[in-house]
């Protein structure tokens, strides 16, 4: 039921995203433009708004699902990829690749995978296996380090590439066209397996020993889920920059919708809705300014996160 409502809300938001912009379209005009194809009346919609919408949806799904997966694996509602440094390492890799003339998604992947290998190695406890709290704390440090590295790269690069990299670092869907949609589709086969991981995440929440005695290969599953989540989060970063708060807020919001249970599909829908809403606001409120979408995800995401976390805290203490 909540899933159906969430899907309906997402469809409504998508419609709004196609209608919003410098020139607003009515519902009939949107339908006409959609069905007329890329030629004629639908040209603006097909060449600008549709690819932008699809890129935002995929990026939002990736960030939302990755956020929930990391928060569940590390048993910490704050341990999303943007807090434990994956997003920052992916951004560093993407900027480095961009400046070297290589595909940014490859750079982002290298950055994020190096980050999880490094974190896994740093946080490995000889007696107890992986220590989730250590991952979160060391990830905070890694995030600062990678952020500084990215700034250094941009400063060194001089004017030409730097302004482009700077705009992208706030997180923006400006400039998302059909080539970006092509890149985004690469992420779908990595995203889909996570949607089947609900039962596994549910068991991992009970603690490592109990999950293992229930027959789960905890080490293998955690590594596989962590790798997939890192790849999709990094992929989303390479598409539209590190959109703030999407990964962090989608997890708690989706849990609230799913009565406390981790559901990566629901988290993906929440993330997609979140990015789409932010982009509608970015284009609808100040169409001339074209402020980066990342500004609005932070503006909406931070309060939502505060409300949901406050709710969870008060639930626990009552």
């Amino acid at each position: 039921m909540r899933l159906v409502l969430m899907l309906l809300a997402l469809v409504a938001l998508a419609g709004l995203a196609l209608a919003a912009g410098r020139s607003w379209l009515g519902p009939v005009e949107v339908m006409q433009a959609l069905f007329s194809g890329p030629e004629g009346v639908g040209r603006m919609l097909w060449s600008l708004r549709l690819p932008r919408l699809i890129t935002g949806l995929v990026a939002g799904m990736c960030l939302g699902a990755a956020g929930l997966v990391f928060q569940t694996l590390l048993r910490n509602p704050l341990a999303s990829p943007d807090v434990i440094g994956l997003t920052q390492c992916a951004a560093f890799g993407a900027v480095a690749a961009l400046m070297a003339g290589l595909p940014p998604m490859a750079g982002a992947w290298v950055g994020a995978v190096s980050a999880i290998i490094l974190l896994g190695w740093l946080a490995a406890h000889p007696r107890e296996g992986l220590a989730p709290r250590a991952v979160v704390l060391q990830g905070l440090g890694l995030a600062l380090l990678a952020g500084a590295g990215t700034e250094a790269l941009i400063l060194r690069a001089g004017d030409g590439n730097a302004s482009m990299a700077m705009a992208w670092l706030t997180g923006t869907l400006n400039g998302a066209g059909w080539p970006e949609v092509g890149h985004a589709l690469w992420l779908v086969p990595l995203l889909a397996p996570l949607f089947t991981a609900r039962r596994i995440l549910d068991r991992l929440e009970l603690g490592d020993d109990l999950a293992r005695s229930l027959g789960l290969r905890v080490g293998v599953l955690r590594a596989a889920l962590g790798l997939l989540a890192a790849l999709i989060a990094a992929g989303a970063v390479s598409l539209c920059g590190p959109l703030g708060f999407v990964a962090l807020a989608a997890g708690p919001v989706s849990r609230w919708l799913a009565r406390g249970r981790p559901d990566p599909f629901l988290a993906a829908l929440v993330g997609a809705g979140f990015v789409t809403l932010a982009d509608v606001l970015a284009r609808g409120l100040a169409p001339a300014a074209l402020l980066p979408t990342g500004l609005y995800t932070a503006l909406i995401g931070a309060p939502i996160l505060l409300v949901v976390l406050r709710r969870q805290m008060s639930d626990k203490s009552s």
Binding site: R75, R199, L206, D209, L210, R259
Partner: protein
């Protein structure tokens, strides 16, 4: 024989924690593991559950090496209730107990009627059926302990390993749980870590005493829970008082 252990040595990181343990446990009934804090009781229990591979020596369950079992097969034979288990917020008792069916579920399929029946049976056995739809965190300590035990019962394995099931319970709850554990031992092999030696004397059919990762004694409680072996295990003397007309001795540190 649920477990046969031969010359088992185990390392955690670089430290050797268990040194050359050898013992065999009787089929059915309750085995208690006793020993001072940090002597390797929990490590031994995790090793029996197949979660920690021995460095050397052998570990057999019902005649088969535990290491040779698949994860799922192992989970269907041996259930562990660790102390580290976490009940996620908002989870109901029934949902928690249903997690015990994990090794029996087919991938991507919902629970079958047999799974539902096993969950209902486990709830019944621990007396939590009336509270099945309450959130786990809203239960009292004793009820919560019963919920975790119901989870391993729903796992329907013939061998249960329980890490300090009586911890943090007041005396009436302890007494109630001891009655329940005694019933469990009638149809299954149960191995549990215990701190209260008087309860161990009255509940267990077999006792393992550990000190510093070495086996001090293994045998019926009347042999192990006596001043000699206990002094060797804990490093202090004990008074074992035999009350007329009751099960086992009352075991107290000497001079208490």
């Amino acid at each position: 024989m649920p477990f046969a252990v031969q010359d088992l040595t185990l390392r955690l990181g670089r430290t050797e924690v268990l040194h050359g343990l050898s013992f065999a446990l009787p089929q059915g009934g309750i085995t208690g593991i006793i020993g001072p804090n940090g002597c390797g009781k929990t490590t031994l229990l995790r090793c029996l559950a197949g979660l920690l591979p021995p460095e050397s020596g052998s570990l057999h369950h019902a005649g088969q090496p535990v290491a040779s079992l698949t994860h799922r097969d192992r989970a269907r034979r041996i259930a562990l209730m660790p102390q580290s288990a976490i009940a996620p917020p908002g989870l109901t008792v029934r949902q928690l107990v249903a997690r015990g069916r994990t090794p029996w579920l087919r991938p991507f399929r919902p629970m079958t009627r047999a799974d539902e029946a096993a969950v209902a049976g486990a709830l019944d056995e621990v007396g939590l059926t009336p509270l099945a739809d309450r959130a786990v965190e809203s239960l009292s300590g004793g009820q919560r302990q019963r919920a975790w035990i119901a989870l391993v019962l729903a796992q329907a394995s013939g061998t249960l390993l329980l890490d300090e099931p009586l911890n943090f319970l007041d005396l009436p709850h302890q007494a109630g749980l001891v009655q329940m554990l005694r019933r469990l031992g009638e149809s299954r092999s149960v191995v549990m870590i215990l701190h209260d030696l008087t309860i161990a004397a009255r509940l267990c059919d077999h006792v393992l005493a550990l000190r510093d990762g070495r086996l001090v004694a293994s045998g019926p409680p009347s042999d192990v829970l006596a001043d000699g072996p206990l002094r060797e295990t804990f490093g202090i003397g004990f008074d074992c008082l035999h009350l007329p007309g009751s099960g086992g001795p009352v075991v107290l540190p000497a001079g208490l």
